[in-house]
Amino acid sequence: MYTNDFEYYRADSVDDALTLLSDHAGAELVAGAHGLLPRMKTGDESPPALVDIGQLRGLDMIEEDDDGTDLSIGALATHAEIADSETVRQRASVLADAAAELGDPQVRNGGTIGGNLAHGDARSDPPAALLALDGSLEVRGLDDKRTIDATDLFEGPFETAVADDEIVTGIRIPTIDDAVSGYRKRRDPLSGYALVGVGVWLRTDGETIEEARVAVTGATTTPARLPAVEDELEGEAITEDTITAASAKAGITVDDGAFVSDVQASAEYREHLLTIDTERALYDVIDISQ
C-alpha cells in the first residue's frame, strides 16, 4: 500500500529534533525506520511528519562505567553493533543474544536499540532483554531529562511510557560479575518476530539461585516480567526440579487474555510454549552437573 502523505525533517542535533517534534504535532522520530515504515505502508500508523535522527553523531556508543557497575548504550547503536559487542556479550549476554536474533542482517544493520524500545512492538526481542536486565531508558524532553525503568516502559501494543515530545538518548544496564543471562527465541514463521521469546538473568553462587529475572516477549500483548517464575527460582538450589517447578509457573502471572492469538498460534499454544521455552532458556544459562 501507499503511505499517507507526510513531511520529512532531518534533525541536526537532539535539541533540533526535540524542537521539530514540538513544532509538528503527531510527528514521529525515525532512525532505522524498520519498525515504523512498514506500519505506515499498511496504514496502521499515519504520522503527518517524520523527524530523522538516524545521522546524529555521538549516540551510538557502547561503554562500561569506570567502576564497571553499569553498561551504557547509546540510543542509535544498531542491533548489529550490540550483537557484535564483546562488552555486551560479557556483561549482558541476554541483550547480545536478542540483538543477534532480531530480524535479518539488513534490519540489524539499520535498526537501533533506542528506536526499537520506544516503538514498543511486543513481538520484538530487545524488550525481553531489557526487562531481564532490569535496565532503564534515558529520555530527554525539551526542558528536562528523566529515566524510565524497563518495568514501567511497556504499556501496551506499540505503546510505551516515552512521551510524544521525548527522545530516547540511551539505555543503562546494571551489571554484576556473578550473573548469567540468555535469550531464547521461537520465530514466527511468517514475520520472523518472536512467537515466544524468553529472556533470563540469574545471579548465583554456583549452587543456589540468589536472584532471578525472567521476561517474555512475543507471546503476550505486552512484554512483561514473570514474577511467579522468579519467586520459584530465588533461593532454590540449581537443580532440574527447581527449573521444572519454576517453568510450570510461567503462564500463571500472565493476565487472562494477555496471550496473543493469531493464525499461526492460539493463546493456549503460546501459553504452552512459554512454559517449554522458559524451561529451555533456563537450561541454556545454567550448567547443571549432578
Binding site: 514463521p189 514475520s191 520472523g192 499454544y269 504452552h272 510454549l273 517449554i276
Partner: protein
C-alpha cells in the same frame, strides 16, 4: 550441482537429433538473462513510462457479499490531480462486450455473468467497482478513500461444502445451490464392485487449503490507445500474451484482434496467477480508450493477495480398496472444490480434468471413480496454481496409499512398490483416462530411497522412538500430465483453446539466428534453453541464437507458458522448425556443392560431402546464400526461416520420487526437516542447472503448502491472511539443503524427448512432507493431519486432539 545423471535410460528414437552436435543441449550453461535481471536492468511493466501517462487505482469492495445500492464518486472526481472516475455503469454504457469468459466448458456448467466492474452485487472482498484515473498513483489511491459506496450486506459463504449444503443466499442467482458443476470421471459400477470384493478399505478426509500465489512482481498493465489508428498497445504481466489478446478481443473490449498488441516485458514470476484475464487489465485498457491517454495500473501487494487467483481449496473424502497382499483394487474420491465467486478461465478445468485424471498416480489401479462438486463461494476466484489439479490429485492418492499401508501393516515404500506400473506396461492406460507415455518408476523410487539408506533409517527410527525421539520418513511418488495437448483431445474435454505451440526459427542474412516463440517466460530461462535447442539442431553456439518472446506483434501466434508446457510443446516446436530450416539449408548445400542431399553429412554447422570432407558449406554461409537468392535450387523460394505449429500427440508424463526425513518435537510440535531428496525424471534434460533450479523452487513451494501456507477467511468473509506478515510464504532459512538427482526416461513422442519440469517438485513435495510428519506421529495414533502442518496442529495431534 546434483549428482551425475544415473542415466541408464533406454535409447530413444526421439533424442535431439542435431547430428550437427552443437554440444549445447544437455549442458549446464549459465542463463544469459541473469545479468540484466540481477543488476536491475530488466524492464518490467512498471518500469515503462509513456508521455502523458496517467495512473489507475481500482476501488474494491470491502464486503464479501452485498448488493450495491449506490456509488457516489463526486468527491473523488473533484480532487486535485484526479482526471476521471468511472463505474461499472460507465463500462456497460460504452457498449464493449464487458465479459470475462471462461475458457473451459463442462457438461451442465453454470456460467454467470462476469463483468469488468461490478454493477449489481459484489461477490467477494476485492471485487472492483470503480476506477480512478489520476496524474499520479498517489493521487489515484488517495481518491479511492473519497468514493462512497452504499451496500446492502448479504449473507456470505466461504467454505465450498457449506456453500452447497447450507441454505445460504446464492453467490449467483443462476446457481441457486451454488453448484457450478457436478463432474464425474471413471466407472462407478466397476469401482463399487472393486470395493465390495477387496479385503480391506481405508479412507481419509482431507482439506487442501487455499494457496495465494505470491509472484514476486504484482500484476501490472500499461495501456496506450492510439485514436488515430484505432490500435491498443497493452504491456502487461502475462504468461500468455496471445491468449490475453484473444480474450481482450472476444471477451472484454470487442476490438479486432489485429488492433491489439499485447506485450509481456520481463515478468517477475507467475505460478499460474498471470495466465488469466482479470478485470483489472481490461479496465486499464478501457480507461485509456476513454481518455486517449496512456494509463498505468500497478497492483499493490495487498491487491495481489485479494485479487490474484488463489489455488487449491479442496475438501475431499478418499477411499482406497486393497487386498491383504497389498494389491490396490480401487480408489473412490469425492471432492468439493471451491471456485471462488467467479469462473476464472481454467477454474473449471483445474478441479475436474486436471485433478481427477491423475488419481491413479504411479499405480496400476483397475477401478477409479471420482466426483467433483464445483462450488461458488464469496471468495477470490480460484484457478490453476503451480501443479494445478495434478498436485491436488497426487496428494489424494499418496495420502490414500499411506493410510492403506497403515491399514494393512505394510511398509509404505513396499506397498508403493507392489503397485507401480511396470516399465513394460507403457504406454499405460490408467483407469482415470490417461495414457502415460513412458516411465521407470521403480528405478527413480529406488534411487531416492537409496539416498537415505531407507531400511537402515527405518531401523534407526524404531530405536529413536524408544528414546522418545520421533523421526518420520515421507515418500512422495508422483506422475503428472504436462503440456495439456493435443488440441483435439483438449477440445473434446471442453477446452476453448488449443494445446499447440508456435514458433519461428529464422536465420538472419548474416548467419545469426532469431527464435520467436509463442510461450512467455516469467523467470524460467527460456532465452537460454530455447537457444540451446536451436543451437543444437543447427550446429551453432547458443551465442548465435537470440530468443524473442512476449510480443504479439513480433510473434504471430502462441499459447503461452503454463502447465509445464514450454520445454515440451514450445521446445518441441522450435526443434521441429529448426530441423525444417536445416533441411532447407541441406538442399541449398547439395545444390551448390553439386551433390545429392543424401550424400551430405552435417556436423558442427557444416554440410560435408561424404567421402570428400574438403567440399563443404557452413550453414551460416548457406543462410547468406538463401537471402541473396542468386543460386538456389530450381523452384526454391529465397529466405531461410520456418514457422512451426506443433500439436503434440499426447501429454508428457514427468515422474519421480521425493523423500523427506523429519524430526518432530512432541513437546512443541516443531518440525525439523533433516533430509530432503528429490529424484525427478523429466525426460531429456536441456539444461541440468535450470532443471535443478526448477526443482529447488518447486520443493520450496510444495513445502510451503505443506507446512506454512493457507489463506484464511474470517467470519465476515474478509481475507484474514492478506499481508506478508499474515500469510506464511516459506523463507530460505526454513528450508533444508535439497539433494536433487535425476533419472532420464525420454518421452517417446516428443521431438526432443523432454517431459517438462516446471511443476513436478511442487506436486511431489507437498505429499512427501505430510507423509513424513504423519509417519513421525505414528506412535501417537495419527493417521492424517491437514495442511498447513503448523507446530500447533502437530502439538495438538500429539496431545490426541486432532
Amino acid at each position: 550441482m546434483s549428482d551425475a545423471d544415473t542415466n541408464e535410460a533406454t535409447e530413444s528414437a526421439t533424442e535431439p537429433d542435431g547430428d550437427g552436435s552443437g554440444g549445447t543441449f544437455g549442458s549446464a550453461i549459465k542463463r544469459g538473462e541473469d545479468v540484466p535481471l540481477l543488476t536491475g536492468d530488466g524492464e518490467y511493466t512498471d518500469d515503462i513510462s509513456l508521455r502523458g501517462m496517467t495512473h489507475l487505482a481500482i476501488c474494491r469492495s470491502d464486503h464479501a457479499h452485498a448488493r450495491i445500492e449506490s456509488i457516489d464518486t463526486s468527491d473523488a472526481a473533484a480532487m486535485d490531480g484526479v482526471i476521471a472516475v468511472y463505474t461499472g455503469e460507465d463500462v456497460v454504457e460504452s457498449g464493449v462486450p464487458n465479459t470475462i469468459p471462461t475458457a473451459w466448458d463442462l457438461p451442465g456448467l453454470v456460467q454467470p455473468q462476469y463483468r469488468m466492474l461490478a454493477t449489481d452485487k459484489v461477490r467477494y472482498e476485492g471485487t472492483g467497482i470503480a476506477a480512478v484515473i489520476a496524474e499520479t498513483p498517489h493521487a489515484a489511491h488517495d481518491a479511492l478513500e473519497r468514493i462512497t459506496v452504499e451496500y446492502e450486506p448479504l449473507e456470505h459463504v466461504t467454505d465450498p461444502v457449506e456453500a452447497v449444503e447450507r441454505d445460504v443466499p446464492p453467490v449467483h442467482d443462476e446457481a441457486a445451490d451454488n453448484v457450478a458443476f457436478d463432474f464425474e470421471l471413471g466407472e462407478v459400477d466397476a469401482t463399487d464392485e472393486a470395493f465390495a470384493d477387496a479385503d480391506r478399505v481405508a479412507s481419509v478426509d482431507l482439506r487442501q487449503p487455499r494457496i495465494i500465489p505470491n509472484a514476486m512482481e504484482p500484476r501490472a498493465a500499461l495501456a496506450d490507445w492510439e485514436n488515430a489508428t484505432g490500435k491498443l498497445r497493452l504491456w502487461m504481466t502475462s504468461q500468455n500474451p496471445h491468449l490475453h489478446r484473444m480474450l481482450l478481443s472476444a471477451g472484454t473490449l470487442g476490438l479486432p484482434e489485429n488492433k491489439i498488441q499485447v506485450i509481456a516485458p520481463e515478468v517477475g514470476g507467475g505460478f499460474g496467477s498471470k495466465i488469466y484475464h482479470y478485470p483489472d487489465e481490461a479496465v486499464t485498457a478501457w480507461c485509456s480508450m476513454q481518455l486517449g491517454r496512456p494509463v498505468k495500473w500497478q497492483a499493490t501487494r495487498s491487491e495481489s493477495y485479494l485479487t490474484d487467483c488463489h489455488g487449491r481449496d479442496h475438501v475431499t473424502t478418499g477411499e482406497i480398496a486393497l487386498d491383504d497382499d497389498g494389491t490396490i483394487r480401487g480408489v473412490r474420491v469425492e471432492t468439493h472444490a471451491g471456485l471462488g465467486a467467479q469462473l476464472s478461465q481454467f477454474g473449471t478445468a483445474t478441479p475436474s480434468y486436471l485433478y481427477t485424471t491423475v488419481l491413479s498416480g504411479q499405480y496400476t489401479i483397475p477401478a477409479i471413480h471420482c466426483r467433483v462438486i464445483g462450488a461458488f463461494t464469496n471468495t477470490t476466484p480460484v484457478d490453476a496454481y503451480r501443479g494445478a489439479g495434478r498436485a491436488e490429485g497426487i496428494y489424494v492418492i499418496e495420502r490414500l496409499v499411506d493410510v492403506g499401508a497403515r491399514e494393512l501393516g505394510i511398509d509404505p515404500a513396499e506397498l508403493r512398490r507392489r503397485n507401480l506400473v511396470p516399465p513394460d506396461e507403457f504406454p499405460y492406460e490408467s483407469a482415470a483416462a490417461l495414457v502415460y507415455d513412458s516411465g521407470e518408476y521403480e528405478r527413480a523410487m529406488d534411487l531416492a530411497l537409496d539416498h537415505i539408506d531407507y531400511d537402515e533409517l527405518r531401523e534407526r527410527q524404531r530405536e529413536l522412538r524408544d528414546e522418545d525421539r520421533y523421526i518420520g520418513i515421507g515418500i512422495g511418488n508422483f506422475v503428472e500430465s504436462a503440456g495439456l495437448s493435443p488440441s483435439g483431445l483438449a477440445g473434446d474435454l471442453g477446452a476453448q483453446a488449443g494445446g499447440w505451440e508456435s514458433s519461428i526459427v529464422r536465420f538472419d542474412s548474416t548467419g545469426s539466428v532469431t527464435v520467436l516463440a509463442g510461450t512467455a517466460d516469467q523467470g524460467q530461462g527460456h532465452r537460454t534453453t530455447y537457444a540451446q535447442i536451436a543451437a543444437e539442431e543447427l550446429g551453432l553456439s547458443v551465442d548465435d541464437v537470440d530468443v524473442v518472446e512476449g510480443d504479439t506483434d513480433r510473434i504471430p501466434q502462441g499459447m503461452g507458458t503454463y502447465g509445464s508446457r514450454s520445454a515440451s510443446v514450445g521446445g518441441g516446436s522450435i526443434a521441429r522448425g529448426a530441423r525444417e530450416v536445416r533441411e532447407k539449408a541441406r538442399r541449398i548445400a547439395a545444390h551448390q556443392l553439386e551433390t545429392s542431399v543424401d550424400d551430405l553429412e552435417f556436423e558442427d554447422g557444416e554440410f560435408r560431402v561424404t567421402g570428400a570432407p574438403d567440399r563443404s558449406l557452413h550453414i551460416q554461409t548457406i543462410a547468406h546464400e538463401a537471402y541473396l537468392g542468386h543460386d538456389l535450387p530450381e523452384g526454391m523460394d529465397p529466405g531461410l526461416e520456418e514457422t512451426n505449429f506443433y500439436d503434440p500427440e499426447n501429454f508428457t508424463y514427468p515422474f519421480g520420487t521425493h523423500v523427506a526425513v523429519v524430526e518432530v518435537d512432541p513437546e512443541t510440535g516443531e518440525i525439523e526437516i533433516e533430509r530432503y531428496i528429490a529424484v525427478d525424471d523429466c525426460g531429456e534434460i536441456i539444461n541440468p542447472m535450470i532443471v535443478e533450479g526448477q526443482v529447488h523452487g518447486g520443493i520450496a513451494q510444495g513445502i510451503g503448502a505443506a507446512l506454512y501456507e493457507g489463506a484464511v477467511y474470517d467470519d465476515n468473509g474478509h481475507l484474514q491472511t492478506r499481508r506478508m506478515d499474515e500469510y506464511a510464504v516459506p523463507h530460505s532459512t526454513q528450508l533444508p539443503e535439497f539433494k536433487t538427482d535425476n533419472t532420464v526416461t525420454p518421452s517417446p513422442h516428443n521431438p526432443i524427448g523432454v517431459k517438462g519440469v516446471g511443476e513436478s517438485a511442487t506436486i511431489a513435495a507437498t505429499p512427501t512432507m505430510v507423509s513424513a510428519v504423519v509417519d513421525a506421529l505414528e506412535p501417537f495414533g495419527v493417521d492424517h493431519l491437514d495442511m498447513p502442518l503448523t507446530p500447533e496442529s502437530v502439538w495438538r495431534a500429539t496431545e490426541g486432539d486432532q
